[in-house]
Point group: C2
Chain length 282, copies 2
Amino acid sequence: MDDPALTEARKVLAAEWFAALRDRLCAAFEAIEDAHDGPGEPGRFERKPWTREGGGGGVMAIMRGRVFEKVGVNVSTVHGTFSEQFRKQMPGAAEDPRFWASGVSLVAHMRSPLVPAAHINTRHIVTTLGWFGGGADLNPSHPRPDDTRDFHAALEAACEAYQPGCYAEYKRWADEYFFIPHRGHARGEGGIFFDDLASGDWERDFAFTQGVGTAFLDVFPRLVRRRMAEPWTEAMRARQLEHRGRYAEFNLVYDRGTKFGLMTGGNPEAVLMSLPPVATWQ
Amino acid sequence: MDDPALTEARKVLAAEWFAALRDRLCAAFEAIEDAHDGPGEPGRFERKPWTREGGGGGVMAIMRGRVFEKVGVNVSTVHGTFSEQFRKQMPGAAEDPRFWASGVSLVAHMRSPLVPAAHINTRHIVTTLGWFGGGADLNPSHPRPDDTRDFHAALEAACEAYQPGCYAEYKRWADEYFFIPHRGHARGEGGIFFDDLASGDWERDFAFTQGVGTAFLDVFPRLVRRRMAEPWTEAMRARQLEHRGRYAEFNLVYDRGTKFGLMTGGNPEAVLMSLPPVATWQ
């Protein structure tokens, strides 16, 4: 590791970025609520701070609007000491079990079945080592080739600016990760997934993490605006709710962040903010 | 173990009982559908056989009616060879990994938020050893003291007929099992839970397992008939759907049968038949 003062400064930079990205995402989504030419009032985010026993806390931001049926953006910055169990699993924690972690995670469930659901999360974790991780994926119940193409193109550009060839690697990782084994199919249209990112050049890794966030901020609102005025049927809505059932299955059975949060006594409201507002199992 | 012919005869007896209990439960529920004085057509169970790769199979029976929004009764009789991992966990499987298992499981999600949801499952498993297991619990979104009392009284009578004092033990086991740690509360009003039941007197253990099924068959339809005509509000319905979200969380994150089924390549449609028809996370 670098010297302690530098590590501390970098923690501040990372945590500030995650909060800034949250602000920009919330603003972009509220602008969409305003721009929508439909019934109902434009939604607004409500923020709710929470503290974590053991150190740190976060802010949940949730909006229930007319385009976004339920969108949650959670920023958290926590610190503490890993349990015996996690000590063995987390890089650099065997020597010293203290950790610091900051990140932003977002899940958007949309009213229209023709507007894709989406997810992004990025994080910075510091033990005796420090690394970045994250992922983003698109979850339409009614996939459209151009939406999938544009979403992947934005992430690919962020990846290739960092390290030529890494998009293919991170896309493959997402294909493996965002998969529902018991159903035998992907949970959506994929995206990217990366973890343990520590190239030795912190600024460069941080810039990539920022680039992933910025790419999502650029592309996802465009997809929402592209689709939000398209008329849809009750049959499409029914299919969307079934698709959300699969999403809930994935998050509750397999998602690492969810399991980590539930098993380590995280705030269940924040951990499960990703669950759909309504889901069906017909 | 007893001699092989006797073991085989007992397997047949147990499997036949589980199917017979299913038939009686389905008949009782269809009679409730007929008796209900409400709009819509009385529901009828649809049966769907399935086979298991590796040996055996089962029959799913599902009814979507006007009292029962979604009720699934699954009977299965399977056999095969435990994986290395399960061999160590399952009694009597270290010496010989072959197993046989038969059981019935039922989950009822009701239209009216004032009619309690409920669950029962009982099973017989044979390795080089043989034992019974099962459980039943009541899951009202709007608990009513007399329903809870009557449900427990029926199970208590079945338990006390088997072994004085065992109701307290099996109730405590249910209180521990039907608990949602990340929410810090029970998933419902409890019931009983038992496993590895092998007293040395197979007939007696089988009679108890039958008694639990018969107790459920007696009490649950009575509770449904008691409540099904009570008027309810949209606010009650909303609370029911949130309660079902907790139920889905429990089944997907903690339930042993669900995890066992998903991880061993069970038929996902049968394994996840327990999930609610609609659930919300507001």
